[in-house]
Symmetry: C2
């Protein structure tokens, strides 16, 4: 394995001092070097295939141009777009991201956090939804830079970037009311997620405002199976089942589809369903799902923007950026019977 080309090799070829090479190669310090020298150095660098060693640079500058991204689970379809949104902002600015999955385990989260600290990441983007642990508080107190995405900061003064979930729920309820539905049921996600509560509260408020009968059923997790189980329970318990379901997310809505089908009911003729997230393939299910689209890519990009701002300007404002969501009306909602 051939030894790597270093700044010293370039300096030798270009006939200058390593320090000069460093200045010539760097956009910010380039102006301190004679223009002729810059081209000479650049040519030597190209000729040797020199790539600055960012480890060495990182040691000296104590900045690694790396961001840690903490998410629950990459195979949950909302996270890939968030991650890509993050990268789309970071990449052009010379930053890389290291993505880790906690599988919603506090222990794992803490150890992954430490491992990223050890790697000297310049900051964190945190998307793990559950609150109630002290990690972020401690991080804040020890001067770590971070921003929350798709979750509330839960009292810790980090910036947070979230979708306007409440508005999405309002729009769903309004849409359903317009179709003549009078009794709505909401399938609420796990209460450990701040988004679950926001959505449930908005649901109750919206129904109250529009004079609709509101029922809320809690689900233990955001999954297809749990949605199916919840809907099964509703169908097998209630004498007059609701004519419309507002699901906490698309996975739960999908579970509702399955339950309906298993009970010989059709959507939207018997029951209208609206999901939340507009996850990939939401339009490909049968019926194509009416759902609220959150701008996940933008959420990611925006969180990256806030983080870099925090890093480069050394100020952290506990701002809360709320991005608009959009109700996508497809075929799973129709007039009430």
């Amino acid at each position: 394995m051939p030894r790597r080309v270093t700044i010293g090799d370039v300096a030798k070829i270009a006939g200058v001092h390593p320090g000069t090479v460093s200045r010539a190669m760097n956009a910010k310090t380039e102006s301190q070097v004679n223009a002729d020298t810059v081209v000479r150095v650049r040519m030597a660098a190209k000729q040797l295939g020199y790539l600055p060693n960012s480890i060495a640079r990182g040691l000296r500058t104590s900045s690694t141009m790396t961001i840690g991204v903490i998410i629950p689970d990459l195979t949950n379809p909302i996270f890939p777009p968030i991650v890509r949104g993050i990268d789309s902002y970071l990449g052009p600015r010379g930053y890389s991201s290291v993505v880790v999955n906690t599988d919603s385990s506090d222990v794992a989260e803490r150890s992954l956090f430490e491992s990223l600290m050890q790697r000297q990441v310049d900051g964190f983007i945190v998307a793990t939804g559950h609150s109630g642990h002290s990690l972020m508080r401690e991080a804040y107190d020890s001067g770590v830079r971070a921003v929350m995405v798709n979750r509330d900061s839960g009292g810790v003064p980090y910036p947070a970037v979230v979708g306007d979930d409440a508005h999405g729920i309002w729009a769903s309820v309004e849409h359903l009311a317009g179709l003549g539905h009078r009794a709505l049921t909401h399938l609420e996600g796990p209460s450990s997620f701040s988004t679950s509560r926001v959505r449930a509260e908005a649901f109750v408020a919206a129904c109250a405002e529009m004079n609709l009968e509101a029922t809320v059923i809690g689900c233990a997790e955001y999954s297809v199976d749990e949605g199916q189980r919840a809907m099964d329970a509703i169908l097998e318990t209630q004498r007059t089942p609701p004519t419309a379901i507002v699901a906490g997310n698309d996975l739960l809505a999908l579970g509702v589809y399955h339950s309906l089908r298993a009970h010989g009911l059709t959507c939207p003729d018997d029951v209208s369903v609206v999901g939340f997230n507009d996850m990939p393939f939401a339009r490909d299910f049968q019926p194509a799902m009416t759902t609220v689209r959150s701008p996940y890519t933008e959420l990611g990009a925006e969180s990256a923007r806030l983080l870099l701002k925090q890093i480069e300007e050394s100020v952290s404002i506990a701002m809360r950026v709320m991005l608009p969501v959009e109700l996508i009306i497809r075929d799973s909602t129709g007039p009430a019977r």
Copy 2:
């Protein structure tokens, strides 16, 4: 922002030399230090909350414990499980991964590759499907360690970990033949992907073996829209359309669903469809999709294993690991009319 705790701080508290701290903290060198000293150092480290700076370590040892993972697009549902499989092997061994997306652009791939080289990653896992560029060749020649996953190494002597696609296609064809289908059509993915060709060739071979009429239609990309377009063309062109479709992947199969529906045909009564990948939600489409399941998580884990082996034992064997796939029979295939 409080200054970070360094090895020197620990040394001072423990009353020893920094070098001793280094040895005491490291599992491999711990035996060189007196047991009492080790506990004293460890206690001092814990007390100060010392985390070794892996940048500094990396500079000295020229190993960053970081792996670069190059994929086309994280939002393509087959990649999250691969990435998680990789991490599941890497994480417990102290490695992290940096995932980058090329969006199938050669230019992007090259620049991302260089940026990862600059970050001194210890090796690469490459999943970008298209061959025909020289990047991996050059990488090999300059001693870079890598393994290919879900694609062939295309002549470059890197190890490759792939699913047994040919077998999956054989199983599909066999299944369809068993249901009485005599004329099969294969929707082939873009020919720049090695997997496309493997699958198409297996399809032709299997049909020949079983005395079935085989047609192959090329698709410009692996997408729902392209699958729909291809099936539309078939339905609107051929006098007697095929009774069964073997799609190059699930996305194409989903497009076939849409086309069928648009033409008033039902699956599987009019046309049977089998997909490839068993992507998330394949069972949730209507009808639930018969498809070939590739062990993506295992593919990822196995590629990580081979890479670490290559790194730690400094040997690269151009082996080709082929993991078994499984035909998952659901509701999109039925007896021929």
